[in-house]
């Protein structure tokens, strides 16, 4: 019990800023500008959220469109990535081919690399191919990351090869093995990859690559609301809270799966 208490205290400290944002979102304007900022609210109100709704009504592009864009892009990236990554992970874990070792190493190393460096070359490449200002500009790079491949590969490594051999002996083609045998086994790992990918795409604004207003996603739209002036401070807090909800919900639902994946995905050798 002591442990719980101690952790709770520590946890409160950790969660403080987030708590602050949540509190801010229900503060009326009269309390938002207190300095130093307060951690409690005297007069909670839903005004900020209502203002947000009102602001939507004054937008040329309807809110649903931004939501749609975010969901579409996050959805396609996530699903696409899970599929591509699990396929690649299968090949890397269970097949033999030249360069296998090299690619495996590259996957791990690429995790170390920072995206800031690659953003300019990426931009140039993408514009040569004509991808700028389309959904693809956000979807495709999201599917190129190696962390998911890495996780899945580790997970697959724990699957005994015998199972696969048995499948091959039984005359199943690689494709059949993959779809009927492997995919179901990977389910918990999928959940993890889905969550991480989703959360990261959900929070990107994509403004470096997307200019058209009706293609922009939620974070971009929400941040452009707050640059219009100090009148929107409370709304910005409401926005932050709303943006936090999907990741938290998804995380809660799949805590178990994540934990299981992680349990299996340490690195061997």
């Amino acid at each position: 019990m002591m442990v719980v208490l101690f952790l709770l205290l520590l946890g409160i400290f950790i969660a403080l800023p987030i708590y602050y944002v949540i509190i801010s979102s229900v503060k009326p304007i009269s309390e938002l500008f207190y300095f130093p900022p307060r951690f409690y609210v005297l007069d909670p109100t839903t005004d900020n959220f209502l203002s947000l709704i009102k602001l939507q009504s004054q937008s040329e592009v309807p809110f649903e469109r931004y939501l749609f864009n975010s969901v579409l892009v996050s959805g396609i990236s996530t699903v696409g990535y899970v599929m591509l990554a699990s396929m690649a992970a299968y090949a890397l874990a269970k097949h033999k081919f030249p360069l296998k070792g090299f690619i495996t190493q590259a996957v791990v190393i690429a995790i170390l690399f920072r995206p800031e460096v690659t953003s300019v070359p990426q931009y140039i490449l993408m514009s040569k191919v004509g991808m700028i200002d389309t959904y693809w500009a956000v979807i495709l790079p999201a599917m190129a990351g190696s962390f998911g491949v890495f996780l899945l590969q580790q997970f697959l490594d724990t699957v005994p090869n015998e199972l696969i051999e048995a499948g091959r002996i039984d005359g199943a083609s690689e494709y059949a093995i993959y779809f009927r045998l492997i995919m179901p086994m990977l389910k918990p790992a999928w959940m993890t990859v889905i969550i991480f990918t989703f959360i990261s795409i959900w929070n990107t604004t994509g403004v470096q690559f997307i200019y058209s207003e009706n293609l922009k996603m939620l974070p971009a739209m929400l941040s452009s609301l707050s640059t219009a002036g100090i009148a929107r401070t409370g709304v910005a807090a409401a926005v932050a809270v709303l943006m936090m909800i999907p990741p938290v919900v998804i995380f809660l639902f799949s805590q178990n799966s994540i934990v299981e994946t992680m349990a299996h995905s340490g690195m061997k050798g």
Binding site: P17, V21, P37, M87, L112, A144, V248, V259
Partner: protein, 308 residues
């Protein structure tokens, strides 16, 4: 093992496509994207590091001039390097240990409900994105800033301290915030690792004379968790060496006298503020090599622990 079909002539060489067709089918889609969006840009960046590209005009080849300047002429780089090491060494292991310790404590709790709740609570900084701006208020240099006013009330301070702009203090502030943010995927990995520990080994250990929790930790728990420890390490290293965003948000970019300047910030500074992309690319390459070296080291160390 491929069985030979009776009567067929054994072929000497299967065609490449035959042997690897399915592999390619599985591997290529992702690999293609990976190459296009990750590998090629990295190679281009490496290429840039040998030029004097200024983002606007076409790059001119200059050989290793950038690297030479970097190591011989650039004081700020040396400073940012030392800062980065400092942050990496302090927050890397510290964050790592804290994540581990918290995961361990959480594991000690019996109630599943509390475990879930606490895991969420500790992971929440990672979930929430940019909330660390809140720390700006705490560390504000205003005499009414949270920390300042609290310390003044306690009688410790008589004049407000500029936590974020005074080189004497801002490193400390940054370290605190980074530690705060350190519970990320690594932390989850540890929580998971604890769950799948083999109970039998613990009993065996008790019988064999393991006396206290620490010994248990060292000899039994840790070795089983090497894989998770490694993941945690990779992420830690990657995060620690690439620290920069938080610093910039809190102490300004650049910070006073480059006191919280890191290699990453140095790179973006040259790239975006000074329009010297070639030089920035060189810095990026150096950073990457650094991380690689460290990774190899840690990898080797952790391998010794492995029970596999």
């Amino acid at each position: 093992m491929k069985t030979k079909i009776k009567g067929s002539k054994p072929r000497k060489k299967r065609s490449f496509l035959y042997k690897y067709g399915s592999t390619m089918f599985f591997l290529l889609p992702w690999l293609a994207l990976f190459c296009f969006f990750v590998v090629i840009p990295i190679l281009v960046a490496v290429f840039f590091s040998f030029t004097d590209f200024d983002m606007v005009r076409s790059p001119q080849f200059v050989g290793i001039r950038n690297y030479v300047s970097l190591f011989l002429d650039d004081e700020t780089f040396i400073k940012s390097l030392s800062n980065t090491f400092f942050y990496a060494l302090v927050t890397g292991p510290a964050g790592y240990l804290i994540s581990f310790a918290v995961a361990w404590l959480i594991n000690e709790i019996g109630s599943k409900f509390w475990r879930s709740v606490l895991t969420l609570v500790f992971y929440s900084p990672a979930l929430a994105g940019n909330v660390y701006m809140m720390w700006n208020y705490i560390f504000s240099g205003d005499s009414y800033g949270l920390l300042n006013s609290w310390l003044t009330e306690l009688g410790i301070l008589s004049k407000p301290i500029q936590w974020l702009t005074d080189p004497a203090y801002n490193s400390m502030a940054v370290v605190i915030v980074i530690l705060w943010m350190s519970m990320g995927v690594g932390f989850l990995s540890f929580v998971a690792g604890f769950k799948q520990l083999n109970k039998d080994l613990f009993e065996a250990g008790a019988i064999d004379g393991v006396r206290n929790r620490w010994q248990e930790l060292w000899y039994i728990t840790l070795p089983q968790m090497v894989p998770q420890l490694k993941i945690g390490a990779v992420l830690s290293i990657s995060g620690a060496f690439a620290v920069g965003g938080v610093n910039a948000a809190l102490t300004g970019n650049p910070s006073t006298d480059y006191s919280t300047h890191t290699v990453l910030l140095h790179m973006t500074d040259y790239g975006y503020s000074r329009y010297e992309m070639g030089y920035a690319s060189a810095i990026a390459v150096v950073l990457f090599v650094l991380m690689l070296v460290f990774w190899k080291l840690i990898h080797g160390v952790l391998n010794r622990f492995s029970t596999d």
